[in-house]
């Protein structure tokens, strides 16, 4: 009987709870999306939501399937970097809503070095990381030494960097549209190497960005969980005063961790723009959603670097799947609706876990009482 009582139920494990909570969020998000489709036009709703979930499987030809899978992966890499940026800062007790701005800074720096200065890809990548890190470090500095809430300073910096980058990239604009020139047309040496991945997935924008993103992800996991510095970061996040009392440099930790978070988001932008998948529209009036979606991916992945890989992929999977809906009835933004509902639901995760634990405790109590 004693042995029975000490065995933990599976549901009690934090990992299982996180996974379960994330799945509940996803299901609720899809449900809201489905209801929206039903309201708009009931006749094609089921087909549309299946198209969103299937994404590339919706195509019959294998080469088209591969191509769309490749496209999804291309957009997954930057999102994964942004979500790492958010979760890394969160572990140090900071809410990095500035991932969006750091992403913008990275995009600006990488494209400026590629299109105007004609540098090779590794220089552009570094420049993007430095630009993001600088922006992050400013927020970190203001938080550590000037008592400015990082959420507020990040929001200001998001917009400052958007307008700065628009000005910086204006000379590199292609006169025929509102976007910058493609990297391939101006400076092919700045394109990320593909190492044959493009042929493998039948999509020319697939580059080393994807394996690189996974590597960075593992590196961040190791840094956070297996190193002294990572321990200090997490300790600062859990209790700033206790960390300071234990002799950790709390102010330094805040600045360095924001700089790392910024570098990650900047790197993410370089991964997208140096693969020529997209160009920068120099007249855009709002901060790209990638950084904000990074917040979604980070929380959906249970604030775990490995979980972030799956959540980032999932979000891009349904975003790309949005293109499959019948445009005569619905619009592709239905995917945005689904993913934003998922983020909203993620804010209830803590409560869900609390609820699960309470129920489990009650049940255990009940059992004990019955046996005695």
């Amino acid at each position: 009987m004693q042995a029975n009582n000490t065995r933990e139920p599976l549901l009690k494990k934090p990992g299982v709870q996180t996974l379960l909570a994330s799945l509940i969020c996803i299901l609720l998000g899809l449900l809201v999306g489905y209801i929206a489709l039903l309201i708009i036009n009931p006749s094609g709703a089921t087909e549309a939501i299946v198209g969103v979930i299937k994404n590339f499987w919706a195509y019959s030809k294998p080469e088209k399937q591969l191509k769309n899978f490749g496209c999804t992966l291309v957009t997954t890499a930057p999102l994964l970097m942004c979500s790492l940026s958010v979760l890394f800062a969160y572990k140090v007790g900071l809410f990095n809503i500035g991932a969006a701005g750091q992403y913008v800074a990275g995009a600006g720096a990488s494209l400026y070095f590629a299109l105007t200065l004609h540098m090779p890809w590794y220089v552009c990548l570094l420049a993007a990381m430095l630009a993001g890190a600088l922006l992050g470090a400013i927020s970190g500095f203001l938080k550590a030494y000037r008592n400015v809430n990082e959420v507020i300073s990040c929001i200001m910096l998001n917009w400052i960097s958007l307008y700065l980058v628009n000005t910086l990239l204006a000379p590199a604009k292609n006169p025929t549209g509102k976007d910058t020139f493609t990297v391939a047309s101006q400076n092919a040496s700045a394109l990320l190497p593909t190492l044959g991945l493009d042929n493998l997935l039948n999509q020319k924008n697939v580059t080393i960005a994807i394996p690189l993103a996974i590597l960075v992800c593992v590196a961040i996991w190791v840094l956070l969980n297996k190193t002294v510095q990572g321990y200090a970061f997490r300790a600062t996040g859990l209790n700033k005063n206790a960390a300071k009392y234990a002799g950790m440099q709390d102010k330094n930790n805040i600045i360095v961790s924001m700089a790392i978070a910024g570098a990650l988001a900047g790197l993410g932008a370089a991964m997208l723009y140096l693969s020529d998948f997209e160009q920068w529209a120099v007249t855009q009036a709002s901060v790209p959603a990638m950084g904000f979606n990074g917040i979604a991916a980070a929380f959906l992945g249970g604030l775990n670097p490995i979980g972030a890989i799956f959540s980032s992929y999932f979000i891009q999977h349904i975003t790309r799947g949005g293109a499959n809906v019948d445009m005569n009835m619905y619009c592709a933004q239905i995917s945005d609706l689904i993913s934003s509902v998922i983020i909203y639901m993620c804010s209830f995760v803590l409560y869900m876990k609390l609820f699960m634990n309470k129920r489990l405790d009650e049940r255990a109590q009940h059992k004990k009482g019955g046996n005695a």
Binding site: I39, I155, M156, W159, N166, Y344, L350
Partner: protein
């Protein structure tokens, strides 16, 4: 010059309304990052009313119904924040971010659904309201609208409510020290609901004013282009006080309109600055001000912390 004045006043009205909304929410203890999303929904409510009202409606009726619709949709949307933050102790920054993304996404889906069902070859997210918009204008041919007077009235009302009524003082107590407020019999949860809903009301109205500023159609894909965040900056710059928020809104509104009309001034044109500089300036100013004055910040002490009856 007249053009600059018009734009400054209209942008000031928008920023002031939304920032006052944020002020009520934060004084009750709930951080409202989701103002941007609330604005989009308020704008959507107003725009839909303008679209479906008969064209020969009397201007006064038109104004009243549109304003009420915008306020109501704003309040309804703000309930998303209230429920999550007050009843479920959710992370308020996360909820706000989700609301901003959801606002634009949902509004786009709704408007596109309406447009495509009317004409399947028209998948745009635009609503036109050329006729109804005329009823908001005081003097034909200008942009001086009744909204400016309404914003002024609401500013005065906000000041009185916040500082001169029992309700306002109790609201602020909940944002400073909710446990103390609770100990004297104030229902903290109810007060916070009130704060968030007032922010929904003012934010929704601000959204409506924004989409009627200088244009007669709005593409909902674009959201409100960061005005909710700018209003947040106005609120902080105005150190959470209505009278200072009004001045901050005036300053930020001036810069914002300069970016639109600076080419009309010879000396500004000769400076040869790109228009992005004027867009950037309000944010830079607020960041610098924050850096110097945040040591003794006027922010409500308990904002962002979910209220837990059991904690001390």
């Amino acid at each position: 010059m007249l053009l600059l004045l018009q734009y400054t006043l209209i942008f000031t009205s928008v920023l002031m309304l939304v920032a006052l909304g944020g002020c009520f929410s934060e004084h009750s203890g709930v951080i409202n990052i989701g103002l941007e999303g609330i604005m989009v929904f308020g704008a959507l409510g107003g725009a839909l009313v303008m679209k479906y009202m008969p064209a020969d409606t009397a201007p006064l009726v038109m104004i009243c119904i549109t304003v009420l619709a915008a306020m109501l949709t704003g309040i309804l949307y703000s309930l998303l924040l209230a429920v999550a933050a007050i009843n479920f102790n959710a992370d308020q920054t996360l909820v706000g971010t989700a609301m901003n993304l959801l606002g634009t996404a949902a509004a786009t889906v709704i408007v596109k659904a309406i447009n495509t069902s009317a004409d399947s070859s028209n998948p745009s997210s635009e609503i036109m309201y050329v006729g109804p918009k005329k009823s908001f204008i005081i003097a034909e041919g200008t942009e001086f609208s009744w909204f400016m007077l309404l914003a002024l009235a609401l500013l005065i009302l906000s000041y009185i409510v916040l500082y001169k009524t029992k309700f306002g003082l109790r609201l602020m107590a909940c944002g400073e020290h909710p446990q103390a407020a609770d100990s004297v019999g104030i229902n903290v949860y109810r007060m916070r609901y009130a704060g968030v809903m007032i922010s929904g009301l003012l934010g929704g109205l601000g959204g409506l004013v924004y989409i009627t500023a200088g244009v007669s159609a709005w593409k909902f894909e674009n959201g409100v282009a960061g005005f909710g965040f700018l209003a947040l900056a106005v609120m902080i710059f105005g150190s959470w006080k209505p009278q200072r928020i009004a001045l901050a809104a005036l300053l930020f509104g001036l810069f914002r309109s300069l970016s639109n009309v600076y080419t009309g001034f010879d000396f500004l044109k000769n400076l040869n600055l790109p228009s992005t500089v004027y867009n950037m300036l309000p944010y830079i100013i607020s960041l610098v001000v924050l850096a110097f004055f945040s040591k003794n910040s006027a922010a409500p002490k308990a904002e962002g912390i979910p209220y837990d009856k059991g904690s001390r």
